[in-house]
Amino acid sequence: MMFQREGVSHGLAVVALSLFFPLAGFAATPASGSIQATSTAPITWSGSPVGTNNGESTCVDGTTCDVFTLTIAGSPNDYINKFVNVSVSWAVAVDEYDLYIHQGSITGPVIASSTVGTPGTSNAASVSPNVTGTGVYVMHIVASSATAASSYQGSAVVGTSPANPPQATFRAPSYQNLKPPTGVGENSGEPSIGANWNTGSIMSTAVLDTLQLTLDTSTSPATPTWTVRDNTITSTTSLDPILYTDHVTGRTFVSQLAGTTSLMAYTDNDGITWNPTQGGGIASGVDHQTVGGGPFRECTALQAQLNPEPCAILTARGPITNNPLGVYPNAVYYASQDIGLAQMALSQDGGITFEVAHPMYTLEQCGGLHGHVKVGADGTVFVPNKSCSGSQGLVVSQDNGLTFTVQAVTGSTPGSSDPSVGVGAKGRVYFGYTDGSGHPKIEVSDDNGVSWHYNQDVGVPFGIQNSAFPEVVAGDNDRAAFFFLGTPQSGPATGDDTTGIFSGVWHGYIATTINGGKNWKTVDASPNDPVQLGVVCTFGTTCPAGTRNLLDFNDITTDKYGRVYAVYTDGCVSADCITTGNSSTAPHTKAQNDGATKQTVIRQATGTSLFSRYDSTPLKP
């Protein structure tokens, strides 16, 4: 890696700036403390960092963030059934101080964090020394939104139960299933979806068709209108369709594989007109491509002061400023794999041209096929993989796609579906996956995949034994939605039906968190209407006929109000199939399934959105 991860740069910052300022100026008051398993009184400290930071990566210790070093004394066995609960609190609800707990030092992994968002007056997280060990832990308190008049109080106390991050009022979501009219979206395996935040359009692509969904919200429920927005460039062949919408600019890309190259077009008016692009960035042969994008990673002033070389690289890999078509503000990435090598190419001109791709990983490190690229608000690039040396993996780039690190998703096991990543506004990574047993799980990282926590099985409320096609989107740092297909039936649900005919009913489920992944609320988003009966084969082209109608993935996104939209392929559409699926006594094998490929969009109708700023104006159907 050209760059060190965030924590390291912070550590360097402390070292470098301590040459100019007293180190005490970088810490809370007091700067450190110690706690024992038998302690009953809390350890307290205070501070008053000022500023507006979007996560740890941009803060400057001593100015916009504080450090408090806590030594947890004794041995891990002293803390059986005990927790060290850490909180920061402040007086004014529009202020916010985020809490990150690093193990060992400020450069160590983030083992817990709390970034609830405004309005609120506290953040809290816990350490379980019996699990993570005793010793030094560093509390990093980041001014997310604080003025010179603001200050916080910190506290660490031993308790018998972990601290619960404060939660906003959670209204359980409900969902509508919207189907295009007959004849539209009928051949729609592995759909992808994007939201144009400027126009409100929901764009989707599957196989050859690109659809625009608009909603008339003057009625309740809103009235959907579907418009076919095919373009000649990407509707003439299909070896892997993928759509990506840059919600900031409203530009939508559609990519299709075509022989040894890739076809791509973009639209700036929701599909009314299309423009061709170079297509990819991989010289010879491609397979299972993905397109995504987001902000360029930029050099901070502190990084420039410490080490100008990587800053020069970031600048060189930033937006092209002399583009005759105008400066495109965001990076666009194309990733694929061929000849045992996964690669990624950057576009600095809005997806019109791409550089020659850089290697991400080889088959030695991770399985060939990967999930879809996502980009965090600070420009960090993520590509998930279902199998990297014995666990799920996350491929990370912090230099705009030049170099890559493969992070193991600890606690996970390799699965059969491509995993998915959602990135919260301040960089929290939500990694949704189907584990080796088929269960739908999701983990959280606050340090770009170096460490993971809150590994949750979100299928438990419905007894889900098998799942497929995990898809994640995040909004605020603490809010995310996880869409997956699931069935409570155990057995070879994602096999090829040769070792036993699988009988089970699949529905679409969406799990939502508003406290950073600590707790999830799971909802059956397609009640009384099965998505599939029988097997959902994930063995690729070796799948027998009639088992692979859903192909490889679904997708999820959010509009600017934090309303969740998910898209899936409905394999069970006829009245007979639905009735059979709803019968508890009927067989539910592929013989009863329609094998259909009807595109369907799930729209969040009510409930808490992914952005807390809209909590006071609840979503309407």
Partner: protein, 163 residues
């Protein structure tokens, strides 16, 4: 992009001039059966893993080559071969690239991609190497289009299931 004089002098090109056996690497040929591959590689390398009908083998004692990745078509015949260099070994000489005059170069310093495609008996082949001006990190050869046979089959399935 034209080859620059600097690139022409690279050490990696030393082995790709003159006669060559363009469709084999480390004794593995395109179109070999999986059994044949296992027999050849089993003598010098350890099988590490397989994914989507691609296999990774790690060489036991080769000082220069770390591993070889072999991709198979649905009929279990070799569709591509990629060898990966040891970072501290001798620079790779990617023989399938052939005559230097035919090699196309793309990319920038630190990330060059060298490509040569040719036809034999109505079939098209592509050799690809990656690396810097001083050292190649990998060398591959494949049948053009062979990498997408699965995809073409999938396309047929896609349209088939919709009927």
């Amino acid at each position: 992009m034209q080859l620059s004089a600097a690139i022409l002098t690279m050490g990696m090109l030393a082995g790709i001039q003159g006669d060559r056996d363009a469709t084999q690497l480390q004794g593995i040929r395109l179109e070999m059966t999986k059994d044949q591959v296992h027999k050849v590689l089993g003598q010098v390398a350890d099988y590490k893993l397989q994914d989507e009908n691609q296999e990774v083998w790690v060489f036991r004692s080769d000082p220069n080559i770390r591993s070889i990745i072999v991709g198979f078509a649905p009929d279990n015949r070799v569709r591509y071969i990629t060898e990966i260099a040891k970072p501290d070994g001798r620079p790779l000489s990617c023989r399938p690239l052939g005559n230097i005059k035919n090699v196309q170069v793309a990319g920038t310093a630190g990330n060059y991609v060298f490509t040569h495609s040719w036809k034999e008996h109505h079939e098209e082949f592509v050799a690809t190497a990656r690396g810097t001006t001083k050292r190649l990190a990998s060398c591959s050869v494949k049948k053009a289009g062979a990498g997408i046979e699965n995809e073409e089959e999938e396309e047929r399935q896609r349209h088939g299931v919709a009927k």
